[in-house]
Symmetry: C2
Subunit: 320 residues, 2 copies
């Protein structure tokens, strides 16, 4: 039995869910990757955002709430190097929010879809007595879907952009201070790396890829588990967002960055990194190695394994 997910209470539950999941010939890659993959290269994923767990109204505008929910879902298409086709949005909201709030949230989601070239193809709208829940379904197509499960021993591990900015904003809010505009933007208006992933997949062989939603430590553990390899990550190499400069653990354990983490042969990546930077304005950083074994090891600057690597982002303290 495949064991595609890293540690965590929620992932234990998901492991149970998929144990007896029905399958069929059309489904090529089932639960456990960023998207399900179907015959023809079609990919599907859903991503739910819950008020009070993934977002708060006093931190984000309604339009940002909708944008962020859709961008987070679209990031799963980026993780497969898939071209977006459409999103669907299921929306459970209190009836008192049926007016301007709902319209602004939906406008934000449509802005994210539009930026990614995706249609807004429908969804469902229903009343709830509880917090707002936004479930965004993403549908896309990939010539060669990049899975989590094909990391190879000897690959290097790479991330795009900078890590920890979104978590710095959340940490600031949680402690009563005001995040920097840039950190706030990293949390409120994440940019799914769709064009970046497509560009890379057309130029080099991406062996394995995942998007960073729960935090590098947690997401790298999923990739390691799916590939039946270990990942060694060098703490000192992490591209830390300036807002997290004094809190580098946020680059490792903080979530919501929506950058890409992938493994590939180092020669291939070195050949395109500069052009990538010139084109997209973000870096590709070599942060470690794929090795024999299992799990994620975090190495300090002396190359010593840090005990008990911090686990993934739990949003606002829940196991979300």
């Amino acid at each position: 039995m495949r064991e595609p997910l890293g540690p965590g209470r929620e992932f234990d539950l998901i492991r149970e869910f998929v144990r007896n999941a029905p399958s069929n010939d059309a489904l090529l890659v089932g639960p456990g990757d960023d998207c399900a993959v179907f015959q023809g290269g079609f990919v599907l994923s859903s991503d739910a955002s819950v008020e009070g767990v993934h977002f708060r109204r006093d931190w984000l505008s309604a339009e940002e709430i909708g944008y962020r929910a859709a961008a987070a879902a679209l990031s799963d298409l980026a993780a497969m190097a898939a071209q977006p086709i459409a999103i669907l949005t299921s929306f459970a909201l209190p009836q008192t929010d049926y007016g301007e709030f709902a319209l602004q949230v939906m406008a934000g989601g449509q802005r994210a879809a539009s930026a990614a070239g995706a249609a807004h193809a429908g969804g469902d709208t229903t009343a709830t007595t509880g917090p707002v829940v936004i479930d965004v379904v993403v549908f896309g197509k990939a010539e060669q879907p990049v899975l989590r499960s094909n990391a190879r021993v000897g690959d290097h591990v790479y991330v795009t952009g900078e890590l920890g900015g979104a978590a710095a904003a959340v940490s600031d809010w949680a402690s009563g201070s005001t995040p920097s505009a840039d950190a706030r933007r990293r949390y409120a208006i994440p940019e799914p790396r769709i064009r970046e992933a497509l560009w890379l997949s057309e130029r080099i062989e991406l062996h394995a890829m995942i998007d960073l939603s729960d935090g590098l430590a947690s997401d790298a553990a999923h990739l390691a588990a799916a590939s039946r390899t270990a990942l060694s990550l060098r703490m000192a190499q992490l591209p830390v967002h300036p807002a997290a400069a004094e809190r580098v653990h946020l680059a490792l354990a903080g979530g919501d960055d929506y950058e890409l983490c992938f493994t590939a042969e180092p020669d291939a990546v070195e050949g395109v990194a500069l052009e990538f930077y010139e084109r997209f304005g973000i870096t590709i950083t070599d942060i470690g190695d794929v090795t024999e074994g299992s799990g994620v090891r975090i190495l300090n600057e002396a190359g010593v394994v840090l005990e008990s690597p911090p686990h993934g982002w739990d949003h606002f303290g829940g196991n979300a």
Copy 2:
């Protein structure tokens, strides 16, 4: 601007959502039908169920809650005459329910998927501080998707099976009595008419079709609006479920039947109705006509238009 939905506060909101929805060449039929339709005949829909709005734990077992949520979503594939490929399930639930309850709900959903030949291809699981929300995404493929929008003047209007049984069960519970086993089953274990729809679509030309989730009066209004026609329905012709025999309004305004309502030429339907009954054990009933105009008219036994036809099912009083 297309006006694909009937009256209702929730549909007013959805109309606003779709006004500026981005589209692209891959999307052939966008919001407003039972599913979105994409190039290649692929169809997608999502359907959210909320605790306290669509189901209650004191009425259904956990397994039934999951089955029912998936069956309701799969019914949207039936409404397009589509072959199911897969479901995805997004699941927001209190952390106290992470154990047996969650596993039973998911097992129920998988049972519904399996019965329909659909894979369970993934989804999302997250904590919530509010009621359980289950959003089921259905993915399928149709050779000739049957839309809501092609009803033609002169068509007759048909429904499969019997109406009002599920609403009778809910009505009984709401008034403190115990529903009959058969009525309870109609609510708890609805049977999406997938095979029935495929069988019909292979034999006759189905002009327009919708599944009955919100209630015949409301759903027929959607079909009429999408087709820019009127529907005249004869109250005396409705195939009323025995549990609703003394409450025939439930056959018109009660929801959750998940039967099919379609329009076609009467000669075509008469030619296959008996074989349909012999094969599936349910009837096809001629309940009215497609005429010029707009909206739904309900005719009493004397052929007189009843004023103020009852509106669609609002579940437990919410505009769900």
